[in-house]
Amino acid sequence: MQMMDLEGPQSSQGLTARYDELLAPVTSKDNDTSFNRASATYSNLDDRFRAAKRSYERQYAQLYFSRLMLLKEVMLARVQQLWPGVPVCTILEVPESKEVAVIGTVYKNMKLKPSILDEYSKDRGLKAALGAANFCSGDDSLVLEDEGARMVLRDVAGPGPAGGSTTSGGGSEPLNVQEIVTGLVLAVRGVHEPGGDFIVNAVCFPGMAPNPHPLPAPVPHRAAAATAAVVAAGAPGDKYVALASGFCLGSSKADMLKTQLALDFLTGNLGSPVEQQLSAQIVRLVVAGGCIGQLEALAGGGGGGSGSSNPYNRQAQGVALQPVRDLDLLLAELSAGMSVDVMPGAEDPANVALPQQPMHRCLFPAAGMQGSFVRATNPHEFESDGVRLLGCSGQNVDDMAKYCGIRDRLDIMQRSVESRHIAPTAPDTLTCYPFHDKDPFILETTPHVYFVGNQPEFATRLLGGGSAAGAAAAAGPVVRLVTVPSFVRTGTIVLINLRTLACHPLRFDGTLGL
């Protein structure tokens, strides 16, 4: 695999410059040219994330259990391929002083990990001081658990410095505590020292699952030249999917000017025919969560809290819903002109446990009238023109970032894809529904595009495909990883070329240059 340059920044700057002049009143000329919006096939694959009737009678053990069972076969084959000759056994069968491989679910002991039990302990100061950035510490340790037992893992070299080399892509690698999070299924190779811990020589992950089917068009070995403008990058008939997240309507940071610019661009009401042409090639907009900013006044209902705000007043809540109405209007306007998928995010009016169910239709009286408006789940998976796209609103990656030492969001996503699981920290630190007979977050196939919303900045990387040898491109699975930045912070949306999987950020700058 190889890492590609970000095509983004340069081209987007070029665009921004041009928008500035285009903001001036349109004179006339080519304005009559009409563009027909391109269309593409669409099939929604959210079914595995939907739960019509949810019942919270079960515990989480069965979710972990199904995860282990489903990934165990994959791991077995993987171990035999990577470590030929090393016997695989369960934890209970591990002999002393003989090298074996063991497959199991990993659990990371972290002393800084917040627990609901902390609410009952006396020193509350500690928790406050920690904040919520990252809960890693030097003495975190790993245990591996299979269906029978658990054992403590120790690095062969002893506790080394965290960080170090990032993943080398699905092969076996040394144990690095801070690159692993709770809930991953993996295999370890090592020796059980008499009466003590398991000394790990190497670990391996399931590796990327195959794509559901090859891409209709072959993936180019090299992406388009970075200097070229977005339009120039693609061929005239190319179709795009636009990804956006984090409009945060109603929050203090929301910038309506920026938002309106983006909206006008997407609906083809902004810019010269060149831009309008580009806009017309966008077949679909996916809003990956973060539609609404925090709605604090609504939180009257929850249990336990005894805040100082007046809990007996219902009037305030009418006002709080204003952003939801704004969102409805905005989405109605968009979906009048194009297909829109809306996923719920962490702060949106949907349940919090993953998979989040679509936001309710009663919240969208206007947009709901449009046939092109899709209320999607989070995670959301669909296929368009033969390209499989899978996306999350960001909670999964944000949560992993809190519990591991990997800083780069793309690296986290890569680890996730190579572990065939998009939300390993659920349910441990990420709330999710207690499934009992399946684990919908397992990647049985690798999508062609995996995007995550509400991230701090835009970044992208192509995994697999044009591998180092550059030989048979069809050999391995391919995935385009994209971090979709929060719009409110960056003013950026992302276009994905459905033919080439090339990825282009578009930045809308609403500042008036004062």
């Binding site: 019509a52 515990q59 053990a61 209970l92 627990s115 658990e145 919240l363």
Partner: protein
């Protein structure tokens, strides 16, 4: 023969057979008794004691010596020594009958004497006698110099690795100092057993089998953890990583194998949690029930010696009276962590779960005994599950032992007080003082009389005397620094300063024998001779203890090695405790040597000193003497005085405090010393022994919040009260924001009345100490236990369990009794029984709140009524709550306005509310989301605690703060989900 058990530095177990030490006691001799009389006494004793002597042949009395000693009781004048007879008998068992003869009256016919006299030192246990005479203390190093002993190489009598024989005059006992202060590498075995009870009953040894025994062996002072981890199971069991699993089909085989393990691993100390009252007696009785008692009950170190168990009673002023089974295991000390922790720490709960949560910071899953039977009846996996649990229960005591450094503290205590290690847990404080007194007395040629104990045996609490004084508190909220002046080790220093001792007490009828200038009268009227004339024994003991403590503290400061630090810290603590227990020894009416004249004098001096301190401080620190303002003593208790210097600056208050301490100290005889310790700022004084404040020892920043006598720890209170009180104090003291505290209280009361308080905060629990029928009156938790037994005998609380309950609105009757209102929290949850908020408000919250707010605000009652109490919500009663609800029919109603919907309607809202659908939906959703988050957090917390991801959580620990919460969130979430679904799901929609 005395057997001394121990280990050598290499870790080998050693048994030394010490020969030649003879038991003896004293009686006072009349000057007229010549050699012939003594001879006659001996003969007469021999005749009378023959009945008791088990060993035929050989005289009971070996010899009678004449010696010069003095009685410790009362001041005897300058030449105190008189003739005493030291009567040496052949075996220790003869001491008691011989004492009985003398105390009951003995006719010596041959010389025509009738002797009825007090005996001296006849109540000293043989072991202690030996230790005192050879200067051996508990846990010290004994050297057998080369050539003085003989090694038994074959046909050993014990299971020890080395066996030696030595005469008692030949070995060397090293005082625990310098290189001999280290602690020997003792072998410690921690055990836990699981029994399979029948449904609804606590396991009984006669009927219910032992199904698992977990044992861990470790060596003290080594850090690498247990050397043996073993679990024996009845029935097959899947293997466990890091532990040896032994499975048996026959319970007898398992027990016998465990006996072998015990003997093979040969531990010096057996530890566990509640082993003295449960595990060990259970094993013992179980073997009897299986008729393998004789083979099984050989746990001691002497080969073939049968371990015996008897019922015993332990009674101590400090620890209360309780019955227990006394199992004597020859050569092994039993150390029950439960007993030790109960003695040393005040906790709200002593279950292993909450104790380990408190000290080790980790929760432990708790498997209810009714679940154990199911796990045992399952397959090898479920039994493995149980075995893991059992192993953990054996490991936790081990970790507690290390964490609390009990090995070091108790060995140091044994060394300081000179008693064997085993005495420390099974006996009270007095034996320790007694041992020290004996040692001191022996050096000074004093003998200690065997005083007839007068106490509860004669009814009542014996003779009372006035205790410590408490200065009337000036209740209020002090927003200025209040300095606290403490007398350092008040009682010991009074005893030293005023030379209070048995040997210095002058009885009123003998006052004339001592010149007035040589004696002093205590404030309660007893006379003691001054130290210049004769120094008392107790003051000397105390001086040595305190000097030793000072040394240990200095060494501690210099020491860097953590193990040596642990030893030294243990020692200074032991020294402090022993110094303080000397006073208690003189006042213990059921003790060995009660002397109320001493203890009453001590407290009377204490009272006088507090009063005098107050007077001195208030006279001196006045504006007239050039200080900022007139100071005021606002409170004083036992050994401390609180002074409000009325300065606003902490630094200045500390200066004045230090100055005042020095100034007042001068007014008292040394070593009495008033010390300035801390400043409280701000300080909330609520009543006698009830106060709270921020504690400052440095002027820069406060150390912590300190509170006394406030509802923050007691278990009878529900968690809500503790939380509210703590938060209020934090708001008032730390944030200094009384308005915020008031608002908080109002918020909580509103939440309470609106039924928004987490149920687990409202759970009260009380111990069920005996069977329901044995209680005379109807008590809430007892009645509830009966009710629960009717519902399901399997899970109902048994005697010894704690019964948790909540107060509900019971039935139709308005004036229902409190005992009718108690209900099992789980039952109340499942059946949506309404909580009686008013009860909680009136009986639980109001008193503590009024106390806290009384000094702070004018009319604290306003907290309990007003706007925030107007809005009351009651959960919808279900048909289970009885009454009229049983006849009610459930119809759907509008989710917003509760108007009933037309029957058959599938809608969620009525036509009026329909336009607000999105708002109402959002509100419901908000609830769901919040609950979902809690659900995830709670159940994963339990998963982490049980240490397994792939297995369901079984724990039913009612001590765990989240036990009820996770149950409640499950129920609430399902309800909220159902409500949400009434808005329609997306399943039936296409797009």
């Amino acid at each position: 023969v005395i057997r001394m058990y121990g280990v050598n530095a290499a870790g080998n177990s050693v048994c030394a057979f010490v020969h030649g030490f003879e038991p003896y006691f004293y009686i006072e001799a009349s000057p007229s008794w010549d050699r012939d009389v003594r001879q006659a006494i001996g003969e007469q004793l021999n005749v009378r004691l023959r009945l008791f002597s088990k060993t035929k042949g050989g005289p009971a009395v070996i010899r009678i010596e004449l010696c010069q000693k003095a009685s410790i009781w009362n001041y005897q004048g300058p030449d105190a020594k008189r003739s005493f007879l030291k009567i040496v008998v052949s075996v220790p068992n003869l001491v008691a009958p011989a004492r009985g003869l003398f105390e009951g009256g003995l006719h010596i016919k041959s010389v025509g004497e009738y002797i009825k006299c007090t005996t001296f030192e006849s109540n000293v246990l043989y072991t202690l006698r030996f230790m005192v005479d050879t200067k051996v203390v508990g846990g010290n190093w004994i050297e057998l110099p080369a050539g003085t002993y003989f090694l038994q190489r074959n046909q050993q009598l014990t299971h020890c690795q080395i066996e030696a024989h030595v005469h008692y005059t030949k070995f060397v006992s090293h005082p625990p100092e310098g290189e001999y202060s280290s602690v020997a590498p003792l072998r410690i075995m921690s055990i836990d057993i699981e029994c399979c009870g029948r449904k609804g009953c606590f396991p009984e040894a006669k009927i219910d089998p032992v199904i698992q025994i977990a044992s861990m062996v470790s060596v003290s002072g080594r850090t690498e953890g247990p050397v043996v981890k073993n679990v024996m199971t009845l029935g097959s069991c899947a293997p466990i990583v890091g532990a040896e699993v032994m499975s048996f089909d026959d319970e007898k085989d398992m027990l016998l194998r465990w006996r072998d393990l015990l003997i093979e691993s040969d531990p010096d100390i057996i530890i566990g949690y509640n082993i003295l009252n449960f595990d060990l007696p259970y094993l013992y009785e179980r073997a009897d029930a299986l008729k393998i008692g004789a083979k099984f009950q050989v746990w001691g170190r002497v080969r073939g010696s049968h371990t015996r168990m008897r019922d015993s009673q332990f009674s101590s002023k400090a620890y209360g009276t309780h019955e227990y089974k006394d199992i004597t295991i020859e050569g092994r000390v039993q150390f029950d962590l439960l007993t030790a922790i109960q003695r040393d720490h005040k906790l709200s709960s002593y279950s292993l779960n909450s104790v380990s949560a408190h000290f080790l910071g980790e929760q432990k899953e708790d498997v209810h005994h009714s679940a154990i039977a199911d796990l045992q009846a399952g397959n090898e996996e479920t039994r493995r599950r149980l075995a893991v649990y059992c192993l953990k229960d054996a490991y936790l005591p081990q970790r507690l032992l290390d964490k609390l450094m009990y090995t070091y503290n108790y060995i140091e205590m044994a060394r300081v007080t000179g008693v064997p290690l085993s005495y420390l847990l099974t006996r009270g404080q007095s034996i320790k003082v007694f041992s020290q007194l004996l040692r001191k007395a022996q050096v000074k040629d004093f003998v200690i009389p065997n005083i007839k104990v007068t106490g509860p045996a004669n009814g009542g609490d014996g003779v009372g005397y006035e205790g410590a004084t408490v200065l009337e508190p000036k209740i209020g909220f002090y927003e200025r620094p209040v300095a606290t002046l403490d007398f350092a080790s008040l009682y010991p220093s009074i005893m030293m300063a005023h030379n209070l001792c048995y040997t210095t007490l002058v009885p009123n009828d003998r006052l004339a024998t001592v010149p007035v200038e040589d004696r002093a009268q205590s404030p309660c009227g007893d006379w003691f001779v001054r130290g210049t004339r004769q120094r008392g024994l107790l003051p000397e003991i105390l001086e040595e203890l305190l000097a030793a403590r000072k040394r240990a503290k200095n060494d501690l400061k210099a020491e860097t090695d953590p193990f040596k630090r642990a030893v030294l810290d243990g020692r200074q603590l032991a020294l402090k405790v022993s110094a303080n227990s000397v006073y208690g020894f003189t006042g213990a009416t059921v003790g060995k040597m009660p002397c109320l004249a001493i203890s009453a004098s001590v407290t009377s001096y204490g009272r006088e000193m507090i009063m005098k301190t107050r007077a001195l401080v208030q006279e001196h620190y006045t504006r007239a003497n050039g200080y900022e303002t007139d100071c005021e003593v606002i409170y004083g208790d036992t050994d401390s005085v609180m002074v409000n210097f009325k300065v606003s600056d902490v630094t200045r208050a500390m200066e004045l405090g230090r100055e005042a301490a020095g100034f007042v100290s001068k007014a008292f005889p040394p070593p009495v010393k008033l010390e300035f310790e801390k400043v409280y700022f701000p300080y909330l004084l609520m009543n006698k022994k009830r106060y709270a404040g921020l504690l400052w020892t440095r002027p820069e920043k406060h150390d912590k919040m300190d509170s006394k006598g406030i509802e923050t720890v007691r278990r009878d209170n529900c968690l809500l009260v503790r939380n509210v009180v703590t938060t209020c104090l934090e708001r008032i003291l730390i944030d200094k924001d009384i308005a915020a505290a008031k608002a908080y209280v109002k918020g909580v009361i509103a939440d309470l009345l609106m039924n928004k308080i987490d149920l687990s905060l409202l759970v009260i629990s009380k111990g069920l100490t005996k069977d329901g029928d044995e209680y005379d009156t109807k008590i809430a938790h007892v009645e509830l236990a009966k009710k629960m037994r009717k519902r399901d005998a399997a899970t109902a609380p048994a005697v010894g369990d704690r019964v948790p309950y909540v107060i509900i609105k019971a039935g139709a009757a308005k004036g229902a009794k409190a005992w009718e209102k108690a209900e099992d929290p789980i039952y109340a949850l499942e059946h949506s029984l309404p909580i009686d908020c008013q009860h909680y408000l009136e009986h639980h919250l109001s008193q503590p709140l009024l106390r806290i707010f009384e000094p702070v605000m004018g009319n604290p009652k306003e907290l309990l009524c007003g706007d925030h109490t107007r809005c009351i919500a009651v959960s919808t009663p279900s048909s289970a709550s009885g009454g009229i609800m049983r006849f009610a029919k459930v119809t759907l109603s509008c989710l917003a306005c509760k108007a009933p919907l037309p029957s058959g309607s599938k809608d969620s809202l009525c036509s009026h509310c329909k336009p607000q659908e999105s708002e109402i939906y959002s509100r419901t959703l908000e609830t769901v989301s919040e609950l979902e988050g809690q659900y995830g957090a709670l159940w994963t917390a339990c998963q982490r605690c049980q240490g397994s991801l792939h297995m369901d959580v079984l724990c039913t620990s009612r001590d765990c703060p989240i036990f009820y919460r996770r149950k409640k969130v499950q129920k609430d979430l399902n309800e909220a989900m159902a409500q949400l679904e009434r808005f329609g799901t997306d399943g039936d929609l296409d797009w």
